[in-house]
Symmetry: C2
Subunit: 185 residues, 2 copies
């Protein structure tokens, strides 16, 4: 679901090809949702079939031809309809899935030092994610200063803010977990 509406949302900013959408998707939404190109193409043709998008074939020389996708009125309606569904949003927010916690839950079956090294690796990885997100945040901030689509980029900043507090919380948690396991750095 989210992938579909993510694509609609991006196409609402302007027409794009599947390839460009893939780039844009991973650059902007990538830190909280990933889209495989194969899935993106599948969703795009499905949405074209249901009339949410139109595709224009663009013939190119030296490069493969491409298809430019554009949002239709129905597509725009589908987007705003989805956004207006607050119930659905809350229901989705409840469906948290965390594969890493699954491993920690059963880490008692491991020799203690392996569990510790697992958490150490996780801790490091959180730090890296935070740094990477810093770039995203700065890019958004710059963009916000240049473009005056306040109604939009306000929310982008809020999303970036989430990422930062989320990773910071994970980092602090990993520290506390490690000290609980008697790991003194």
């Amino acid at each position: 679901m989210s992938l579909k509406y993510g694509l609609l949302g991006l196409l609402n900013y302007g027409s794009m090809t599947g390839y460009e959408l893939g780039k844009a998707f991973n650059a902007s939404l990538g830190f909280f949702w990933q889209g495989q190109t194969s899935q993106i193409y599948r969703e795009l043709s499905a949405m074209e079939r249901s009339g949410w998008l139109t595709a224009t074939r663009v013939v190119q020389e030296g490069r493969p031809n491409k298809k430019l996708y554009a949002l239709t009125d129905e597509g725009k309606q589908a987007l705003t309809g989805w956004l207006s569904d607050a119930e659905g949003a809350i229901a989705e927010a409840l469906c948290v899935r965390n594969a890493f916690l699954m491993r920690v839950f059963f880490a008692g079956e491991l020799p203690p030092e392996r569990a510790v090294s697992l958490l150490r690796a996780f801790r490091e990885q959180c730090g890296q994610a935070l740094e990477k997100l810093g770039d995203t945040s700065r890019a958004i901030a710059e963009y916000s200063a240049l473009v005056s689509a306040e109604s939009r980029n306000k929310y982008w900043r809020i999303v970036a803010m989430f990422g930062e507090s989320f990773y910071r919380a994970e980092l602090e948690w990993a520290d506390r977990a490690l000290s609980l396991l008697g790991d003194t750095p």
Copy 2:
């Protein structure tokens, strides 16, 4: 993947039927992973076929017969093999998916008051999740005091700790987002 190994992990504590596994799964791992019964049954028969589990038919009167699943040596090996795969764990930790953020990202297309009410609903829902998790934490703490399987319940507490800091971070984020949107409570 995680569902499969979650089931293996629970069966490592003791043999159970699919139905019991479903209950145990949602009670213990439910706050970070959900399992539909239909999926659980499918995974169980698949794992039986690959020799990770054995099933014993238990005939009952007045109630439907049941199948008691038990971990085999191969199953136990599969579990520890999965736990030892630190690379895989980190790779999975990178695949965050957050359907709610997808909506916030595009919330600029909504009238401002609707976006605000979306975040307010989210905020409330975080509070409820925190309360519910408090029960889980207390249950784990009690259990920890009674049973002395320290090597195991230490990790359960760490997982519960994660839940708490995660929901608290979400709550604080929602507050900051709301004040950024000019919502004074």
